[in-house]
Amino acid sequence: MSANGGLAIDVSGLVKSFNGRRVVDDFSLRIPEGKIFGFLGPNGSGKTTTLRMLCGLLTPDEGQGTCLGLDLRSEAPLIKRQTGYMTQKFSLYEDLTIKENLEFVARLYEMDNRKARVEDSLKGLGLYERRDQQTGTLSGGWKQRLALAACILHEPRLLLLDEPTAGVDPKARREFWDEIHTLAGRGITVLVSTHYMDEAERCHEIVYIAYGKLLASGTADEIIADTELYTWRAYGHEADRLASKLRGTEGVASAVAFGSKLHVSGVDADALARAIAPYRDGHDITWEETTPTLEDVFIHLTSGSKDNFA
């Protein structure tokens, strides 16, 4: 099993351009089998393009690598058989019923015991009673669960999920992530793109990409430690109102209000201390130094990187 050193994904130097714009630029990634990797980055940063290259939907302009030990360029059809890709937009057939959609997928993968597998999947989803309902009539949460069920039906070894929980309520998201962890427990590797910080923290490791370039990777703690960002937290009387005053001040990289609390971050500890000094005394506000959150770090990373589309 470890002809590829136990790596489910091992790619380097991936480049993809559309109309001369480098959407993905020199992207490298190694994911061990059975791990959940979170794929983060602002909109338009190249996450979807990267996922599409990994599952053979797009051919990289440059770079090479393997998925599940199979060559990305020459063995794409074999990769497809063992990979489940969940698109950002619901892409099952809305005019077909739930059962028809699952049967279609089962047939395309030429699975055996199709009838039993589809029935098991329907029961596992809790949609057995509604199997003859057209999928277009399902709610967002149900569509997302069905899409996941459809892409794990053929028991893939690698799952690529493109913002699977966008627009889904918190309870459904939690159940979704429980399912992801169960799958990873069975040895399935998962690369999932998301904008939610709480989801990022549920991943084993995080990959952060902005404007086509990989900016940071590692566990959440590693990324926070590596970034060398200093953060102060302020709370008290109208502390959140200071955000707009501090923003743009020298030494302040970001000032963000979280409810009535304020997070102020900067790369230079001294400069940051000077910047907040005017608001420390004489105000009814408590200041304390704190470790930055993932969100602080990501906002900092994004603002520090150049937008090559601008």
């Binding site: 051919t59 028809e100 993968y109």
Partner: protein
């Protein structure tokens, strides 16, 4: 593992397409409704041999000869006298389009006739549409020699024309009565199949792209040939239903003769349908959305309609246009359908046209399969 075609996967595609079709009642209704409506419109409405055309007549005198001439005109069936007016009115009526023909019989016609002076009758035709007046004008030639035979029997009308040493015998074969429907209705089969099949396959594939389901489909191990066959086959069946409707109507509603083998026609129809479906599939690989697919359909459909010989005589076109027409599958199918139904053509008679369609199928499928992308690049 890397077979070109898996029957399980093809079966999956087929079942999916049938389900789509079953749920899309409007499109299904249109596919059946279009041939019916076209049949009724074209079959009953179009007539390239119009009879009883409105005619104004101005006779400067009223004698047995002028009356017999007028009667002879009406008896051809092509003329219907709507007005006996004076000279000026006749002209105005023609200009206004109130009549198709204006006949002027000059004064002293009868006297000059009896004197053997060869008097002239003027027939003015509104020839803006040559098809409308053509048959009626040829009928006029007949009248000249026969109309007044009885009246002038025994009367010398001057030096008679010398009898030519030979006769020309014309047989109008396959459609002796010149019935337009015999020509139009078999052709309609080809026209309806071209329009619906190209458009519907074009839409079937671009719809997947527009709705985003193509991305999901491509991420699964389905091969181009399976997608293409899966998309095309259900519509071959639809095409057959359409062809059957028209064939039944042709035989029983319009009384078009069925001289040849219906089985042979069915075989030729399969090839013709595949040709159109391949065009539709090719368009779908180019079009970005469903609107473009429809526009491309018309880009293909109009030349097919105009250059194939369905609307206008094929041999009347200049050579370059005939060359273009030969490339279109409809041209060949029209010849096949008319040949089998009206002339009782056999396989060898239509072999050349079958080859023409086959060549088109090969080229169109090759283009479709090379253009079809297994990636989103």
């Amino acid at each position: 593992m890397r077979r070109l075609l898996s029957f399980t996967r093809l079966g999956a595609m087929l079942m999916k397409e049938f389900n789509h079709m079953r749920r899309d009642r409007t499109t299904l209704g249109m596919m059946i409704g279009v041939p019916l409506i076209q049949l009724i419109l074209f079959g009953f409405a179009i007539n390239t041999d119009p009879k009883a055309l409105p005619t104004a007549i101005y006779a400067a005198e009223n004698t047995v000869y002028t009356r017999d001439f007028t009667a002879a005109l009406v008896n051809t069936g092509y003329f219907k006298i709507v007005s006996n007016a004076d000279g000026k009115d006749v002209d105005r009526m023609l200009t206004r389009g109130q009549v198709q023909f204006a006949v002027t019989i000059p004064p002293n016609f009868s006297r000059d006739l009896l004197l053997g002076k060869t008097p002239q009758i003027l027939v003015e035709a509104d020839a803006t549409d040559p098809v409308a007046t053509g048959s009626a004008i040829s009928a006029l030639q007949q009248i000249r020699s026969t109309a007044l035979q009885r009246d002038l029997r025994g009367i010398s009308t001057g030096p008679s024309e010398p009898e030519p040493g030979f006769e020309v015998i014309v047989h109008r074969r396959y459609n002796p009565e010149n019935i337009t429907q015999y020509n139009i209705v078999p052709g309609l089969m080809g026209v309806v199949l071209t329009m619906t099949l190209v458009m519907i396959t074009g839409l079937a594939v671009t719809r997947e792209r527009e709705r985003g389901t193509m991305e999901n489909l491509l991420s699964m191990p389905v091969r181009p040939a399976e997608v293409m066959l899966g998309k095309i086959t259900p519509y071959v069946i639809v095409g057959y239903v359409q062809a059957l409707i028209i064939l039944i109507a042709a035989a029983f509603l319009f009384g078009v003769p069925v001289e040849g083998s219906v089985l042979l026609l069915s075989g030729a129809a399969i090839l013709f349908m595949i040709a159109n479906l391949a065009v539709g599939f090719t368009f779908s690989t180019i079009a970005q959305n469903q609107l473009q697919a429809v526009q491309m359909t018309f880009f293909f459909f109009l030349p097919s309609l105009l250059l194939s010989g369905f609307m206008f005589p094929f041999r009347g076109m200049p050579e370059w246009a005939q060359f273009l027409g030969e490339a279109l599958p409809l041209t060949h199918f029209l010849r096949i359908a008319r040949g089998i139904l009206l002339k009782g053509s056999g396989f060898m008679d239509i072999a050349a046209d079958l080859l023409g369609i086959l060549a088109f199928v090969i080229v169109a499928s090759a283009v479709a399969l090379t253009r079809y992308r297994q990636t989103l690049d």
